[in-house]
Symmetry: D2
């Protein structure tokens, strides 16, 4: 694997996402980002249930403008590791994400989300390379991957 594609996911704001002010709730914006990361995985052929799960280790979220009812777009870009570092052993990946209403010049929400990888069997941390291997070799069964 040498290059990943960015993802732009269209979503629809649901009434239950809104708070008393008629804005999308701050926690719900993180749900949008999570949907964006799943779309990124799918776009890059890394979806599908394997034995290694990606879990959020840290999120930094800036709320720049209110989001109201209507369509939104979630943009997801892998920022680390970058191309040159992809071959090195690493235990985290970092995404830059934006939520915006279509046609607006600047995002309503900007987030930097760091994910780590855990084995669903041992619950221990594993590397990004383990995650990529697990997702790109779906025919290899969990049992085999432990031998």
């Amino acid at each position: 694997v040498t290059q990943f594609e960015d993802s732009v996911l269209p979503l629809t704001v649901r009434p239950a996402d809104l708070d008393r002010l008629g804005h999308v709730n701050n926690a719900v914006a993180l749900e949008y980002c999570e949907a964006g990361r799943w779309d990124w995985l799918e776009r890059n052929g890394l979806d599908g249930g394997g034995e290694v799960a990606a879990v959020v280790a840290r999120a930094e979220v800036d709320y720049l403008a209110e989001i109201r009812t209507g369509p939104v777009q979630v943009r997801t870009v892998l920022v680390s590791p970058s191309g040159a570092d992809l071959g090195e052993l690493t235990y985290q990946a970092r995404f830059q994400q934006e939520v915006r209403s279509p046609g607006t010049s600047r995002p309503a929400v900007q987030a930097v989300v760091t994910v780590a990888f855990i084995s669903e069997q041992t619950r221990g941390l594993v590397s990004l390379q383990d995650f990529l291997d697990d997702r790109t070799h779906p025919t290899r069964s969990p049992t085999e991957s432990l031998t």
Copy 2:
């Protein structure tokens, strides 16, 4: 107003919608239906903030099949009052709704949702006709509607 259009709203399942079995949670299906009713209102020119709110009075929901990650469609049809009764005074409206994965022959969720109408100022029940008046005369200000 004599005829209303049905609505078919496409939505995307978000990871946070899924439960431990990887299925859309039963309460979340009602969030999908609520989004469908808002789309129905918008399609029929009845969205927009007025002085009368539509609130759910009763919901009957049948869960026929599991919904997994991916796109879904929410179909919303007004079943009561029907054409002939639209001129009569009524305090409720009833919608039939379906949630399904695109391309499947039968819905995963079927719901019958009864809504009532309340004045945001008095908190009292008002009629469907009051609701329709409120939504189709946006230029009439709340203050005027009280005189």
Copy 3:
């Protein structure tokens, strides 16, 4: 098993549960009911991950009064099968549930929720007796239960 205990679960309304009117969203009330049923299972020694899952087949929910921020109580009672029928083969269980603010004379939400039971391995329907066996014999491993 001959008798089940009712459950009364105290919950706290979270800000994200509220909609634009400052009321608990109609879908969120079903989340409260789900928490109530889990508490009922725990109170009756039926929690714990087994090989049989309880899934909602149908929900009938009446919204009688608005719920605002603060504490709420969820009352959960098994209404079917009742004592005399518990020995007979059945594929569903039905709960009557209420959500109310403490100290109020009548519930804000009343629900009748029917659950069915599925084997997590075969995804097929199994009986209430299979569910009870699975939950009350935690030492029996999934593999053994298939032989």
Copy 4:
């Protein structure tokens, strides 16, 4: 007002909060934090609907351990402005928050949440002092506050 009290809010994890791994979803942890900040406001006599709303401007969240079903505690401490700075004009407040399972030695989630204040009428930013004035003088009506 010169000194604020910390808040420790007990919450119950709901089944719908859990993801496919049986852990509390990362976005839901922010809902817990929001509930904690509302409890902090109430404990310090700053709840109640006024004309000034507190909105989240930035959240930094570290996910240190998984949260499973059961009770949790949300601890909320105001870290900025601190005692000495409380008299100075400021447009933000910063909270340090922790979510933990009772009896555990370290938190599962740590968050630093910055809130800003907006006038619900003008939608413009206002100061912390405006917010405190609004919440501690409930008898002053919105109209009066504009004259």
